[in-house]
């Protein structure tokens, strides 16, 4: 530990000033636009925004998809993480590698693949028609289902990784001990696994929820203008309507929700440390 403050500040200042100038100042300016009208501080932009039913629909849809994707990722995530943790060390490492692999691939490419799979002449519809389940192709692309699938595939790895590290820290004999005491698998999950991995679930959940809420590519490609989410709506407001005030409102909502998820994470994690 060194004691020279000037030296320390000189080292830390460039990064801090850069982040403040390039990032904090413009973002704060942008956000302030949503609270101003003719140089008066007001919430009228927010009232306007939520008075339009399209905006309300988009807002609720974003929340709903975020929540559904998070829930699905948690369920599949536990099943996957538990299976991976129980593998022998070598296989476990390889599996973790495979789970992380998609994160390195461009989201554009990852989302693009779903067009081939979910489109009118895509694999799913071909298969359904081949086995005679339907004569007409289903419309899957440009529905909430498509966006849901795309987001889940995009963010599931983050949940699995968080849960793997949580499960690895589980006391070695906790699950067998509970089984010996007569708990069924359902009880083991609720009474043993869930409480002991809550921190991992919260970390993963926040990543998945914020990720889904603020994703742009997936709703843009798989939802299009039929299934707008807050990000795609923001883009439209700027490029089509040239409405920066409305964009600022959406931006603020997105940031508030990101921060809320972040704070919730810390709350729950510290609440657990205290008990």
């Amino acid at each position: 530990m060194f004691q020279n403050r000037t030296e320390a500040l000189a080292l830390a200042l460039p990064a801090a000033v850069f982040a403040a100038l390039v990032f904090v100042v413009p973002v704060v300016l942008l956000l302030s636009e949503g609270f101003k009208s003719a140089d008066q501080w007001t919430l009228s932009a927010y009232v306007d925004f939520f008075s339009q039913s399209l905006n309300r629909t988009v807002f609720l849809r974003t929340l709903k998809l975020g929540a559904l994707v998070t829930l699905a990722a948690a369920v599949i995530g536990y099943a996957t993480a538990y299976a991976i943790v129980s593998l022998p060390p070598g296989a476990k490492g390889k599996m973790i590698g495979l789970v992380v692999l998609p994160l390195m691939i461009s989201p554009v490419a990852r989302t693009y693949a779903w067009i081939v799979i979910l489109g009118r002449t895509g694999i799913v519809n071909q298969a359904l028609m081949a086995v005679g389940l339907t004569d007409e192709p289903f419309r899957i692309l440009f529905t909430e289902t498509a966006v849901f699938i795309g987001l889940l595939q995009l963010f599931l790895p983050l949940m699995v990784i968080s849960l793997i590290s949580a499960l690895e820290n589980l006391p070695r004999d906790a699950v067998p001990a509970a089984r010996v005491l007569g708990a069924n698998w359902f009880q083991v999950f609720w009474k043993v696994i869930l409480p002991l991995t809550r921190e991992g679930l919260v970390v993963g959940g926040t990543l998945v929820f914020t990720g889904s809420m603020t994703a742009y590519i997936t709703p843009a490609i798989l939802g299009g203008s039929k299934v707008l989410m807050l990000e795609t709506l923001l883009y439209q407001q700027v490029t089509v309507a040239n409405n920066f005030v409305s964009a600022s409102v959406i931006a603020f909502i997105l940031i508030v929700m990101s921060f809320a998820a972040n704070i919730l994470l810390k709350r729950i994690a510290t609440a657990r440390n205290r008990t």
Binding site: M1, A16, F18, L29, M104, S106, A109, Y235
Partner: protein
């Protein structure tokens, strides 16, 4: 018995879901047909070859490479000293600095791009290229600080003191003793930053001008007009590039230790 089958079945299904689409992209890029379809119609390398001939892809690839390399290097140049100061000095502003440099991770990228467009590009006339560069640097900064801080935390500070007592200056101790020992962390931060920047879309959405747009944005634009397998081919190529880099890094450095 059911228990023995549980892991393989779950993992097979999840891996099909996670990685299957990637194989479809790869297969589609070898198609001989003119539209994106699966199973591919015939086999050819024409779409892969086409990727290299599309002028806008070549331009935007160069832009993305410049941003990913230049932005990440700049972020490291800013982030390494800051991480060092935060880990080695009793700094009253430590928490403030840490908060400032980590905000870009919390704030959605699309907002950063929009804010830069609104307050720097439009009124001040800042060039799109420079705005992109600043935005990508800011985006990568939190990763650089996080990864470098983690490797500094594993490095005891009495090593620098030992170097000083042997006659080295403070700066000399940093270069002779600290830097060689966090090289792996810095490289890991570079790769993480590179991949993050290269694949980034929302930050760059509003920041495109004539001849200046990032590769992912260019791909999105191309897809809206032409629906041929060349985007699939390009995606597959990029994916192999990312995987190759990460694999090499893991192989030679144990990359995952730092992330």
């Amino acid at each position: 018995m059911t228990q023995r089958l549980y892991a393989p079945i779950i993992l097979l299904l999840v891996m099909i879901f996670l990685i299957g689409p990637f194989f479809i992209i790869v297969a589609a890029s070898f198609s001989a047909g003119d539209t994106l379809a699966f199973p591919p119609q015939g086999f050819s390398l024409k779409w892969i070859a086409k990727v290299f001939t599309v002028e806008s892809f070549r331009q935007s690839f160069a832009v993305s490479m410049f941003l990913a390399i230049g932005g990440t290097l700049t972020a490291l140049l800013l982030g390494i000293p800051a991480s060092y100061a935060m880990s080695r000095y009793k700094l009253p502003l430590s928490e403030t600095v840490r908060f400032l440099v980590s905000t870009p991770i919390i704030v959605p990228g699309i907002i950063v791009g929009l804010a830069l467009l609104r307050y720097f590009v439009i009124p001040v006339g800042l060039s799109i290229t420079l705005a992109l560069f600043l935005a990508h640097t800011a985006l990568v900064l939190p990763y650089a600080v996080r990864v470098v801080s983690a490797s500094l935390a594993n490095l005891r500070s009495d090593m620098e003191e030992a170097a000083v007592l042997l006659g080295s200056s403070r700066l000399g101790a940093f270069f002779r003793v600290v830097l060689p020992n966090i090289r792996g962390g810095i490289l890991a931060a570079f790769i993480l930053g590179f991949v993050t920047s290269f694949n980034q879309v929302p930050v760059s959405l509003f920041l495109s001008g004539p001849g200046v747009r990032t590769l992912p944005i260019d791909m999105l634009g191309y897809m809206e007009i032409v629906f041929d397998p060349s985007v699939a081919a390009l995606s597959a190529l990029l994916a192999f590039l990312s995987i190759g880099i990460v694999f090499a890094a893991e192989r030679f450095l144990g990359f995952s230790r730092y992330v």
